[in-house]
């Protein structure tokens, strides 16, 4: 008996004590090991796809649906998109449309674009640094690297426009831009100047443009492509007031004939499908990948069944609406006097308000829809605006404008405007065409134009805390968002905006 007992005790000792050497090695299933991820191009594709997914994931609050949320916030800072009462995007706690929280370094609306773009940059950096050593076809490596470079350039482009003072062509642009980590282990860097940031943006885009032609083709339009990189390059050049370059890249995209402008039926289909022939780059959202309340369509669609959509119709600047020709298909995107007949809604719980929009419609329940990041229409408008700013190119400008405008309005005739009037006509087209797609703040800032909401008859002053006028970007420091407090506190090299 004693022996059996001794055996049992000793056995249990040895059984458990004789743990294998790797007893304490464990690995997660919810995450992947860094080293393993960059061993092959197949695995490394995870990182670029992770970035695209992140772009339509909720950042923090429900009205921060990634890139779509930033697009809306930028438009709510303008005068063309507004709501009848102070609510999401317009009150200080839930957006910057009231022009207060963008100067509050502790506001989540200051941290949101900052962290959002830097997280994209950090992951793109990891891909750029590691992809050359991965196993796999050279063409795939080139594609991944080109996509990562393009998205890094695009992210810095957004950051510098939001946190830096505007780019002024012909000046040194030595004002502070943003810090520029270019590798995953670049931490706590000082802010580079606006000029340095634009130099890097252009370098990234140029590097990508050199890689794309021999890279493997993108699977779908959620991926950045040669044309998307050209389109971004055109945007950047326009912002830098480098009109020659802007016109050149916009034209390259148009001439590539890979995309075509929407017809009237497509235009009224809700801006929710990446297969639309006009889309160059967009989010590609599967039906099980939506965030019911934290999606772009949970904010801006007219039919999503959320309390925000039901109760707060998004309205257009009534003065801008008045300028749209009746024959223009875009005029039907808004309803000046909605009724049950001319604007049927899913249920009586939906509110109707004058000038409410029906531009964006959900593709699937609950609030699923793809998000348009770049459309071909923009290339025509960039080509037109750039040429209108170049001596002797007005004819080309009018021609580009005509192609787009004629598609939207069958009665459109070639513009007879010249000079400033022509440019204004192009900008009017831009405002109508891209309502809700995130252009207005950036356009005012690059054009150094003040914001004036007092010219908008249906703008409700109380909805934005009475903030109706903001001086031009060159004189009013509110066009530069504050650097988030958590960056200032963690990064001793960072400097706050004034």
């Amino acid at each position: 008996m004693k022996k059996i007992f001794a055996f049992v005790i000793i056995a249990s000792f040895t059984l458990v004590t004789a743990c294998k050497k790797d007893f304490l090695d464990t690995a997660p299933t919810g995450s992947a090991d860094e080293a393993a991820l960059f061993t092959s191009t197949t695995n490394a594709s995870n990182v670029i796809n992770g970035i695209y997914r992140y772009m339509y994931s909720r950042y923090g609050d429900q009205n921060q649906p990634g890139q779509g949320g930033i697009m809306l916030d930028m438009d709510f800072m303008g005068e063309d998109l507004h709501q009848s009462v102070g609510t999401w995007y317009t009150t200080a706690g839930s957006g910057t449309g009231g022009w207060v929280s963008q100067k509050n370094d502790a506001s989540g609306w200051v941290a949101f674009p900052f962290r959002f773009y830097y997280r994209i940059i950090g992951n793109a950096n990891a891909l750029i640094v590691n992809i050359d050593a991965a196993a796999g076809p050279e063409a795939d490596k080139k594609r991944l690297k080109a996509e990562a470079l393009t998205i890094r350039g695009w992210a810095y482009f957004n950051l510098v426009q939001i946190y830096g003072k505007r780019y002024g062509a012909g000046t040194t642009n030595s004002q502070l831009g943003v810090s520029m980590p270019l590798s995953p282990l670049d931490l706590k860097l000082p802010r580079s100047t606006v000029e340095e940031v634009y130099t890097q943006i252009n370098k990234d885009l140029d590097d990508a443009l050199a890689l794309f032609p021999t890279a493997s083709p993108a699977l779908n339009k959620s991926h950045l492509s040669l044309n998307a990189a050209r389109a971004i390059k055109a945007r950047v050049a326009l912002t830098q007031q480098n009109y020659t370059s802007a016109a050149s890249f916009a034209k390259q995209v148009i001439d590539g004939n890979a995309f075509s402008l929407m017809d009237s039926t497509q235009y009224r289909s809700g801006f929710n499908n990446i297969n639309n022939t006009e889309w160059i780059w967009g989010a590609f959202v599967q039906d099980d990948q939506g965030d019911t309340f934290g999606s772009y369509f949970a904010q801006i669609s007219w039919d999503g069944n959320t309390s925000y959509i039901r109760s707060r119709p998004k309205r257009i600047n009534s003065a801008l609406y008045a300028q749209i020709k009746t024959s223009d298909i875009r005029k039907t995107m808004w309803e000046p006097a909605p009724t049950a007949t001319n604007f049927p809604l899913p249920s009586t719980a939906y509110a109707r308000e004058p000038f409410m929009s029906r531009k964006f419609k959900t593709r699937a329940i609950p609030t699923i829809g793809d998000v348009p990041y770049i459309r071909l229409a923009e290339m025509y408008l960039i080509l037109a605006e750039a040429n209108a700013n170049l001596a002797g190119k007005e004819a080309e400008a009018k021609a580009a404008l005509f192609t787009l405008a004629k598609k939207r309005d069958a009665n459109y005739t070639l513009s007879t405007n010249t000079g400033a009037a022509l440019i204004n006509e192009i900008l009017f087209q831009r405002r109508v065409e891209f309502w809700g797609e995130g252009f207005r703040f950036f356009d005012l800032k690059r054009l150094n134009q003040p914001l004036d909401r007092t010219t908008v008859p249906n703008y409700v002053s109380a909805s934005v805390g009475g903030v109706m006028q903001i001086g031009a970007p060159s004189v009013d420091n509110r066009w530069q968002f504050a650097i988030p407090i958590s960056e200032i506190q963690a990064n001793p090299n960072s400097v706050q905006n004034d």
Partner: protein, 1045 residues
């Protein structure tokens, strides 16, 4: 070996011979009040023979002719020797000794007499728990011993209170103590333990007592030991209690219905008069516009006057305005007196070679918020058997079934959280729907419908009043259920050999299968968008622990030696699965099959492992001098292979001075002991199991392509956080132990602190876990007990404990401070030091909220009348340290009186000093259309010249004027009436006629009141002095009955 066996057998025979029984002694053991003392041990001096007393204190014992003396001992009483020469019946009255050194205390891997303990251990016995009606045992730990601080817990039935022992051990790793249940670290839910099963709770506070638990004992250990059979006569105990829960802390004072319109009018008018850009309107123009348009922003008009004339241009409510309806109490329909009923039954006995304890418990505790409850059934079997003289085995097995409806969104700032919605909705928005003329809106059945924005003719409330949502209706229709099946099992096999050796193999198993069920209806709320949603989640949490211990114990004359060596390892597995579907088919069925479209499915598996070698040496000399050494080597899978092993040790010594010859004749001094201990323990309790690894989080799929994003930076140097404690204590008992207590000083330092070091928002991931810095907690603890009256019929005692603690960060890398939230960690400051923008006051000219300006500001500031540079934009405000959340002194005091069976006791918790950042109050001060607002805004600035500390109400500047600053700090001192109990124990005569051992009735109140500096504030909500919209703690009133026979 064979010789030994023969020897053993021989001894057995000898012993058996000794047992030649030839006379019987009967007797009764009673306490000072004459009540029988159950479970007292009665042994024959010089032998191992003996018995234990029955419930009424009676015993019967056969003794050999040679027996001269009986020794009577019982926990909580002094040992007593009684002569049995020429006696066959004895009655012994035992004297109780508070803090007795003979008490046996459960310690790491065993039990020790209190006299030999060199470390710091506090004990709570089942008696103290008897009248504490708590669903979760942690609620009873607050104030139970010095050095213990506890949060108030929360009102969700079954939830745990957080406990800290002697300050804060860590910054980012856990500072919670290790819970050990019946010998093994407990990984389950504390709410799964039946309080009635608990025999003792030992709180191990210093390194000497905890070192043997090495890993994770850095923050102290709470040792919970369940009951075992102790009486020869089988004993049955039944406990029944019944009561109800109420809200324990009142709501903040908010502006009432008739003040709301005028207050919001002011906020709109001021924004027009003092705009952020351009020139403002004149006062009269601003007032006129505000009067004309305020109703457009607030949308609802509950008055009998038109929208444009609710508030006059004088800012006052139109005198002829009367309410069309009055249905604005949102808390009312959400609240209830939640019944709480519990019944427990146990039976136990100790037969000659086996003992058993079997219990059943059923509890249903409904919260004071509707549809929140906790229903639990537990069963426990504890069975131990001495199979052979040298072989013992036992099992302690508990099965638990829990079903709990959860109040939604607790602590989060979400609409479904009743404490967000009901607190923040403006007081002009009715619960039920009314037409614009004030008539109730009825449904087809004639019942008034809720005002949820989706009935015919409804209008949407403004954003601040949650348009289209209705927390009451949603709470009634939705489901949020957590079901849990748990098994807590402990088993051991123990053999003695070579006389002084004991080998023990222990195995412990904690299994928790939690099934979460979420249903969101399609009528109102989050489920509407997708036509009703249902989700099911499953969390399987499995911990297997095993240890093998070898004990040696021997006395050589005056020398007592004990040696323990052992090995222990632990496997923790977590399996997670979750699925959801949308598009409800038939009403009433909330299971997944009744939903049309797949929403998503997800799952993962995680594991954690630990391995350890441990040893301890105890030495005692002459029962006066005691020393203890321990050493433990721990490995954890949380660290990289090269960094995962840590070595921890402790040394301790105690001197029982009272037993020195020079004190034996000092009658007034009954006990005097000093002790000192030093030791180190480790901490690996990080948020994730894989903190050292550089990882990319899966699941970021882009359409059909798989995706991942960087989630952590690798750190192969990451290793154990080390906690070092020096503890010096003195235990004393005076005047026949009428006054007794302990005074203790400790210095608890942590080094290699596990820190989430912020990398800034521009980095690939925003923080990286590193071992940096060091911290210390220095403190004094005092425990005092006084038996004011100690007679047969009347007893009155009093207990006080107090702890003073000073925390200090002693080292940070490169001395660089780390700021996050309301705190900044810096050398020389404490872990909960507030670092906030500095509020200056209100500008009497325009009512702007002012902050002290950040030095070096060149534009955008004002110079105040007293010459200070101030700003209105908080971004430009100066930060400064502004006190700490750590109080000066905290503790508890209590008293109990017993007169002829009538008992009265109370326990108060207190805290003096410390600051609290009242974020709930801050939120209530910022005006927003539709949101409620604190009554203090009635003191706001209104016209130039007003001197006040409340800035002008201004809808556009609400964020700037009410930004996070030291303005919202408040003194955190409080006094909490934790428990009051009144009881009556029936007298012996009646009981013996009823053949009942004990019969006791009691009425008990838990968490009766909290006295703090602001109505609505709960200063005990957190240790770091911040709050959120949590389920407010409850007050429980109950009556109970405890009977045993």
């Amino acid at each position: 070996m064979r010789i030994f066996l023969l020897l053993l057998l021989g001894m057995f025979v000898v012993c058996t011979n000794l047992l030649a029984q030839d006379r019987t002694i009967t007797g009764r053991i009673v306490d000072a009040q004459g009540s029988g003392v159950p479970n007292a041990s009665v042994t024959i001096k010089g032998t191992a023979l003996g018995t234990t007393t029955a419930t009424d204190g009676a015993f019967t014992l056969s003794v050999p002719e040679t027996a001269r003396t009986l020794i009577v001992s019982s926990v909580g009483f002094q040992n007593f020797e009684v002569s049995i020469l020429n006696q066959s019946n004895v009655t012994v009255t035992l004297t109780s000794v508070v803090g007795s050194m003979d008490e046996v205390v459960v310690v790491a891997y065993g039990a020790q007499k209190r006299e030999s303990i060199t470390g710091s251990v506090s004990t709570i016995g089942s008696k103290q728990l008897e009248t504490r009606v708590t669903t979760n045992i942690t609620q009873a730990l607050a104030g139970a011993a010095p050095g213990i601080s506890a949060t108030s817990g929360n009102g969700q039935p079954g939830s745990s209170a957080a406990i800290r022992i002697r300050g804060f051990g860590s910054v980012n790793a856990s500072s919670a103590p290790l819970y050990v249940v019946d010998g093994f670290p407990y990984e389950g839910f504390l709410g799964d333990l039946n309080t009635n099963d608990i025999e003792t709770i030992s709180l191990l506070k210093d390194a000497s007592s905890t070192a043997l638990y090495g890993a994770r004992a850095a923050n102290g250990v709470v040792l919970i030991t369940t009951k075992k059979g102790k009486t020869a006569e089988p004993r049955v105990n039944i406990v029944v209690s019944s009561g109800f829960s109420q809200r324990g802390i009142p709501e903040y004072d908010r502006v009432g219905t008739n003040d709301y319109y005028p207050v919001m009018w002011q906020a709109l008018k001021n924004s027009l008069q003092y705009p952020n850009s351009g020139t403002g309107l004149s006062e009269s123009a601003a007032a006129a516009q505000a009067s004309a348009t305020i109703a457009n922003q607030l949308i609802y008009n509950p008055y009998n006057v038109p929208n444009g004339s609710i508030v006059g241009t004088d800012g006052k409510l139109n005198p002829s305005a009367t309410l069309l309806y009055n249905d604005f109490d949102w808390f009312g329909p959400l609240s209830q007196n939640g019944p709480r009923n519990e019944v427990s039954m146990s039976t136990s006995a100790k037969m000659n070679k086996s003992d058993y304890y079997i219990s059943l418990n059923y509890l249903k505790d409904e919260g004071f918020v509707i549809r929140s409850d906790y229903e639990r059934a537990t069963a426990r079997v504890s069975l131990n058997s001495q199979m052979k003289s040298w072989l013992r085995s036992g099992i302690n097995l508990s099965g638990v079934i829990v079903k709990s409806n959860q109040a939604s969104g607790d602590g989060g700032n979400t609409i479904i959280n009743p404490f967000v919605f009901a607190r923040r909705i403006g007081p002009i928005y009715p619960v039920r729907a009314f037409s614009t003329t004030g008539t109730p809106v009825l449904d087809a059945e004639g019942n008034q419908v809720y005002d949820f924005g989706q009935h015919a003719g409804s209008i949407n409330r403004p954003q601040g009043a949650f348009p289209g949502r209705h927390v009451i209706y949603e709470t009634l229709l939705n489901q949020s259920i957590s079901n849990r099946n748990s098994i807590i099992a402990r088993t051991f096999l123990e053999g003695k050999f070579l006389r002084d050796f004991t080998a023990t193999a222990n195995v412990g198993l904690d299994l928790n299968n939690t099934r979460g069920k979420g249903f969101q209806n399609r009528i109102v709320g989050d489920g509407v968008t997708a036509g009703g949603t249902s989700s099911t989640s499953s969390n399987e949490f499995r911990t297997i622990s095993a240890n093998q211990l070898l004990n040696y114990r021997r006395s050589f004359g005056a020398h007592d030696v004990g040696v323990l060596v052992g090995h222990e390892n632990q496997w923790v597995n977590e399996t997670y699965f979750n699925g959801n579907r949308r598009g409800m088919n038939l009403d009433g069925n909330v299971e997944l099959i009744n939903f049309v479209t797949l929403g998503g499915v997800n799952g993962s598996f995680d594991n954690l492992r630990r391995d350890a070698y441990l040893s301890r040496l105890n030495y005692g000399y002459n029962n006066k001098y005691f020393a203890e050494f321990s050493y433990r080597r721990d490995g954890s899978s949380r660290f990289a292979p090269e960094s995962r092993w840590g070595n921890f040790y402790s040394v301790g010594a105690s001197w029982f001075i009272k037993r020195e010859s020079f004190l034996t004749n000092v009658d007034w001094l009954n006990e005097l002991k000093i002790r000192a201990a030093y030791g180190t323990v480790g901490n690996d309790a990080l948020g994730s199991y894989y903190e050292y690894q550089g990882l990319y989080g899966l699941g970021f799929n882009n359409a059909t392509e798989p995706g991942a994003l960087a989630s952590s930076l690798s750190n192969n140097d990451l290793t154990w956080e080390v906690n070092k404690t020096l503890s010096l204590g003195i235990d004393f008992g005076l005047f026949k132990n009428r006054i007794s207590g302990t005074l203790e000083a400790f210095d608890r330092g942590s080094s290699e602190l596990l820190f989430d070091v912020p990398q800034g928002l521009s980095a690939i991931v925003t923080s990286r876990t590193e071992n940096i810095g060091a911290m210390s907690n220095k403190g004094l603890e005092l425990q005092l007990n006084a038996d004011v009256v100690r007679t047969r019929d009347f007893n009155w005692d009093f207990q006080l404990n107090a702890t003073s603690l000073k925390n200090e960060i002693t080292k940070l890398p490169r001395g660089q401070a780390i700021t996050s939230g309301t705190k900044r960690l810096a050398e020389g400051k404490d872990i909960n030091a507030f670092y906030l923008r500095q509020w200056y006051g209100v500008d009497p000219d325009d009512g702007a909220g002012l902050y002290f300006a950040n030095p070096g500001l060149t534009t955008g500031f004002r110079i105040s009348k007293t010459g200070d540079t101030v700003v209105t934009n908080p971004t430009n405000a100066r930060f400064e340290y502004s006190g700490s959340a750590i109080p000066d002194v905290f503790g508890s005091f209590g008293s109990s009186v017993d007169f002829k069976g009538v008992g009265l006791s109370f326990l108060l918790n207190y805290q003096l000093g410390g600051k609290f950042y009242d974020g709930n109050y801050q939120g209530l001060l910022s005006p927003a259309y539709g949101s409620s607002i604190h009554a203090d805004v009635l003191k706001s600035w209104q016209k130039p010249g007003d001197v006040t500390d409340f800035p002008r109400l201004d809808i556009a500047n609400a964020g700037n004027f009410n930004a996070q600053s030291n303005r919202f700090l408040i003194d955190a001192s409080y006094l909490s009436i934790r428990n009051i109990a009144v009881s009556y124990s029936f007298g012996k005569n009646l009981l013996s006629r009823l053949k009942v051992g004990q019969l006791k009735f009691y009425v008990s109140g838990e968490n009766l009141a909290v006295i703090s500096k602001r109505k609505g504030l709960n200063p005990a909500e957190s240790f770091n002095g911040t709050n959120s919209a949590v389920y407010t703690p409850n007050r429980v009133l109950s009556a109970g009955l405890n009977v045993s026979f």
